[in-house]
């Protein structure tokens, strides 16, 4: 659906050249949700803006639905954009139009018949929970409300591709969830392809199929979300993923536990299948859970638990071996502190 190859975007300012996007290639299949994460200033927004050619890439090509956008004339480009919805980081609502008017604008752009517009707008307002703000002007809306208008606008023309630049970062968790659920629904039911920039890994985990990490304009890692979460390669990726899954345990907490600290990872099949309790019952070790969860990433369970094992070193060794044997991965984060063993 989207195919970017060797995209580069260089900003020229008076004194220096800033490389926003640096030779980035990626593919997003039809009906896929592609998440892009990275530090602030990594080039995420720049990349997204290259996709619908709001920013003309300095070099490289971008194909959407088979069309090489960089080769299109203005008219065709406009047609192509009707099928690419975009949600902006800074909303960019027309200040002089009501919520209704802002959404109707997008419909008019697509040439929707005037008499069909009101019903469609109502539908969209319902969708984002803003029916009661129909006649409010942007200046009278809270940040999250503005963002929701932006979302409704982007969805107005039932686009086949949706570009979201931090679409939920101004929203409370509940609204975020409902918006994500909505995106997921549109994705599943209508096959909407979504490219989504976010800094919340929870969002990636929740709805993305594929993901990429950007750093200094480059895409340093990309792949299936499940794979990336299960085995992040680049240090930056690990850092990001760690936020949701690998549970970096603060020193503070660790210092309270004297036993061996191990990370146990269950992939694919449903969780532990009693492995842990079996282990505890079979070997003379005591276990304390420090942290853990079964995450469903793209619907597949991934269980990661951090636990303290206390007992004779040999017993612990055996226990770990047993767990590994029962098809789980175990990583010893810290050996037991001798003093207490």
């Amino acid at each position: 659906m989207i195919e970017a190859s060797e995209l580069t975007k260089v900003y020229k300012t008076k004194k220096k050249r800033v490389i926003g996007v640096d030779n980035v290639s990626f593919k997003v299949g039809k009906g896929e949700i592609f998440g892009i994460v990275g530090y602030s200033g990594a080039g995420k927004s720049s990349l997204l803006r290259c996709i619908n050619l709001l920013e003309r890439p300095t070099s490289g090509t971008i194909r959407v639905d088979g069309l090489d956008l960089t080769k299109l004339g203005t008219r065709e480009l406009r047609q192509a954009r009707l099928k690419i919805g975009m949600i902006f980081q800074h909303f960019y609502l027309i200040n002089q139009k009501t919520v209704f008017g802002n959404i109707a604008f997008a419909l008019k752009a697509a040439g929707v018949r005037a008499d069909l517009i009101p019903a469609r707008v109502e539908e969209l307002l319902e969708l984002v929970g803003l029916s009661n703000k129909r006649n409010a002007y942007p200046a009278q809306l809270s940040g999250g409300q503005k963002q929701r208008v932006g979302i409704a606008r982007a969805l107005a023309n039932k686009p086949s591709v949706l570009l979201c630049d931090e679409a939920t970062s101004a929203l409370d968790p509940t609204t975020t969830k409902s918006i994500l659920a909505l995106l997921k629904k549109l994705n599943e039911e209508l096959g909407l392809t979504i490219v989504l920039i976010t800094h919340e890994m929870a969002v990636v985990k929740e709805i993305c199929h594929k993901m990429a990490i950007m750093q200094d304009g480059k895409m340093i890692e990309q792949g299936d979300v499940y794979d990336v979460f299960a085995a992040p390669k680049a240090p930056l990726t690990q850092e990001f993923i760690g936020d949701v899954v690998s549970f970096h345990i603060p020193e503070h907490t660790l210092s309270q536990f004297s036993g061996t600290i191990a990370k146990v990872i269950f992939k694919g099949s449903v969780a532990q299948q009693g492995i842990i309790s079996d282990t505890l019952q079979q070997f003379s070790v005591k276990g304390n859970f420090l942290h853990g969860a079964i995450e469903y990433i793209g619907g597949r369970p991934l269980g990661i638990f951090i636990m303290e094992l206390k007992g004779e070193p040999t017993a612990i060794q055996e226990a770990i071996a047993y767990i590994k044997q029962r098809s789980a991965e175990v990583e010893v984060i810290r050996d037991g502190l001798r003093a207490f063993s």
Partner: protein
Amino acid sequence: MDFVHLVEMLPDMWNAFVETLLMISISTAVAIIVGFPLGVILFATDRGLFWENQLVQSGLGFIVNIVRSIPFIILLVALYPFTKALVGTTTGPIAASVSLSVAAIPFFARIVESSMREVDKGLIEAAIASGATPWMIIKDVLFLEARASMVQGLTLTIISLIAYSAMAGVIGGGGVGDLAIRYGHYRYDHTIMIATVVILIILVQVFQFIGDLTAKATDKRK
């Protein structure tokens, strides 16, 4: 003040008032009808915008500046044949309106242009991303967002036109300003001068008031 004289002149002042309104209305209308699209083109053909076209930009800009360069009286005379062809006469308020319009068009066009420059580029981008046509961007984004500022600029234009219309007396355009000059300047008739200036002040205040009110009423930002 000579009240008998003032009363005696009332019909003339009324006439002049009607003539001024006529000239202002016509030339304001023309300034809007021609100046607005011109301003939009000047704006939208600039670098990085949706009609980017350096040639049209500088060409039109040059013409606009030429018209603005020519002293009004010279413009009046230079436009003689054009005025004649257009309205069939070269004197009177209607003929004067032709020159006033020609003078007002580039003035207003520049105002439209610079008002639009103040519109957040992000809004234009969002509209472009929506697949909006240039026409929609102009109508629903640029026009609306720049409206309050353009209304203020229109007020400026109208008030300048009132000042300019005083010179329309040269071709018998009449109007309050002309009366002020003829009586105040040429005839040293202080009564009429003061009376006409008061009329002008009221006229300008009214336009400013309406302009301010409209600008505020149409502005939906805080």
